[in-house]
Symmetry: C2
Amino acid sequence: NIPDPSVRRLSAYLRQLERLAGEGTRHVSSRQLAGYIKAGDAQVRRDLALFGQFGRRGVGYEVDDLINVLRTILGTRQRQWPVVVVGAGEICHALLTYRGFRQRGFDVVAAFDIDPKKIGRTIGGVDVLPMEDCAPVIQRLEVRLAILAVPADAADETARRLCECGIEGILNFATTGLEVPEGVFVSEADITSHLEQLSFRLTSHRP
Amino acid sequence: NIPDPSVRRLSAYLRQLERLAGEGTRHVSSRQLAGYIKAGDAQVRRDLALFGQFGRRGVGYEVDDLINVLRTILGTRQRQWPVVVVGAGEICHALLTYRGFRQRGFDVVAAFDIDPKKIGRTIGGVDVLPMEDCAPVIQRLEVRLAILAVPADAADETARRLCECGIEGILNFATTGLEVPEGVFVSEADITSHLEQLSFRLTSHRP
Ligand SMILES: NC(=O)c1ccc[n+]([C@@H]2O[C@H](COP(=O)([O-])OP(=O)(O)OC[C@H]3O[C@@H](n4cnc5c(N)ncnc54)[C@H](O)[C@@H]3O)[C@@H](O)[C@H]2O)c1
Ligand SMILES: NC(=O)c1ccc[n+]([C@@H]2O[C@H](COP(=O)([O-])OP(=O)(O)OC[C@H]3O[C@@H](n4cnc5c(N)ncnc54)[C@H](O)[C@@H]3O)[C@@H](O)[C@H]2O)c1
């Protein structure tokens, strides 16, 4: 069972490798990779060793090779993941206009809302559908991932409904924790908590 | 030195306590608090013990009391934190229209951009200013926190410029890691990485 912080670092290594590949760099050492992510180079080697033997002593890792390995580990090389967004408000609008998800393996296929003023609109090429369409769309398109962008007081009920439709992974922007059945995974994205991480460091960090 | 995952859990405990307070609940046990966050109740007690003795055996924690303690630890009880956003695009628009930051201790005071079509607009009561105004505004309002919402290729340069103006904490939405001086803290908020956490769990979880 790989802990969340390790998986988070794998994504961070992948981001840096994609950037290096874009700049035409062909090889990278664990020390260079560590520098980008504020992890020690021993941490980089330990993280990657969890998944097999990569890289050669003295030469380091081949950038394209390691990108393929990380994408396979994260599950985005083998397939595209259809994603739905529930709650067609401000956060949803930013997500639907963003072009970067598709090349990283995620396709936002539909958005859902309960507000008649939002239903029927199209944002970034994605239709906003009524909540009643949630179950048939999720089943027909075999969607397993959902992004929750509803107000906090609707979060629990909406998450329950999504799990009943077959959703197994939820990215949660709402400010409350979700109660989900065994086997359903939640990734917390509450923006206020990110700001509190910073205020904590600036309060407890006595230079 | 408290590790990031512990600080993240403190924010999650605070979110649940705020919700319980809103529902009129006056006491909570470590087991109840653990249930919301998918941590064990021993983890809750260990996290809180890092900061002192709270709660009483058999009675649990007093909700209002623990909220004050957590806010003090996270640094949001003692003061409001002015925040600037750099990059007045889609993410910024969602941040500026959100009303929840202020009651949690964060005030977005200005946004900055380089696009003449964006400069001079007002979003959610916040003015979009040219990048040249960055240094004087950050110094005059004693801003220490910034949210980075610029494209990846502008992220490094913008972060460097913010650190020169006195910024000490950056919430980074861009998809690349930032190189910042010693004493400057970065909280990574890349949304794609959150989705990869989920695809990893669904790929490696063999029910
Ligand atoms: N915008 C931010 O910067 C920000 C910051 C921190 C937290 N959040 C959280 O993220 C979530 C989304 O924020 P936002 O700013 O996009 O909110 P928003 O109010 O702009 O959008 C919420 C949408 O959810 C819809 N909705 C409400 N109840 C629903 C239900 N039961 N089923 C389906 N749709 C429903 C509403 O009609 C609305 O369109 C909220 O929980 C908010 O607290 C947002
Ligand atoms: N929107 C999403 O859902 C999403 C998802 C994943 C990652 N991101 C990342 O978040 C960041 C912001 O995304 P967005 O969708 O808001 O982008 P956007 O293109 O809508 O906005 C970016 C803004 O930054 C401004 N800008 C560009 N260079 C600048 C500079 N040097 N200084 C100041 N301002 C500058 C642009 O004028 C624009 O207004 C990007 O790095 C993006 O990759 C966004």
